[in-house]
Symmetry: C2
Subunit: 197 residues, 2 copies
Amino acid sequence: MEYPESFQKLIDCFRHLSGVGLKSAERMAYDILSMEPDDVNEFINSLENVANIKHCSICGNLSDDDLCPICNNINRDKSTICVVCYPKDVFAIEKINEYHGTYHVLNGVIAPSKQKTEEDINYQSLLDRVSNDNIKEVILATNLTVEGEITAMFIANQLKKYPVKVTRLAHGLPMGAQLDYADEMTLFKALSNRKEV
Amino acid sequence: MEYPESFQKLIDCFRHLSGVGLKSAERMAYDILSMEPDDVNEFINSLENVANIKHCSICGNLSDDDLCPICNNINRDKSTICVVCYPKDVFAIEKINEYHGTYHVLNGVIAPSKQKTEEDINYQSLLDRVSNDNIKEVILATNLTVEGEITAMFIANQLKKYPVKVTRLAHGLPMGAQLDYADEMTLFKALSNRKEV
């Protein structure tokens, strides 16, 4: 016996979301079934709105307006750009309340294993900003994964022709780390980047 | 810093689904963001269709048509009704390929802790079926939880006035169970319902 077609389709839609298996997708579809019509409509409206969400015309971050609140804030240091892969990385860095420059959101990574190349990242406008906006430092804050490193190296290469300081997030042991649980690469980086106390 | 309003609303919608926490909801919202417009539209259409899905006019199961495929199947034994709480329970029982009667889907449970009473379950039409359709047996296949037991007892009470056999799923140890891991109630039921070999 099969689910009715419309119900099966909704299950399939949920399964396309990351981290959602068959059982979770079924449960979510049943949740929708038992929701009030108003709540389902709100869900539908949110999907429509997000499908049409804007990106900041300067940095590429998610934005309700043409400029995001950071690019639009005169108190931010416009001479420093922190380059991240995704909008969520902006939110992660903003949470620590330590960075007062601007961002550039690539909205992707270079991932050869997934046929993602430099065509798939928003970097041309970063070069424009660096060449026109008197930028002093570009901080490469892509993830410290293989894909993030490839992306950072690519951007660093592109920036070589500009008189701008290019930095990368520090590698090392995370807070609370136990040496015997750390992977070898992390331990190697932590040792070679050791600092005098 | 906050997410743009439309994006935050979508995160909130995902959080209303069962088993979805903040991080998962954020990840799902980002998934939507990176989907092709066609896929988002399919998602929206599925939600709309499921919000308008029909229930079988006899048994209350999900259905694309007025009658579900089981009530519409002349080969099913119409004199036996298996009473379950939710459509997913029908699919669970159909999977074992052992039951050839019909179903009755309550589409809810009696749950005093959640202010769910008999008003919230589809049982009146079950009584109509039992009194009019020459039903020989009603199998109470609600979950073996507190709420499922309360619901089963309520239905059993309602059926007392009809000349129909009422049965309940067997309690006992599940396949592969280890005695020292079984809870006391299960072990007690397994012992008192022991069968001669």
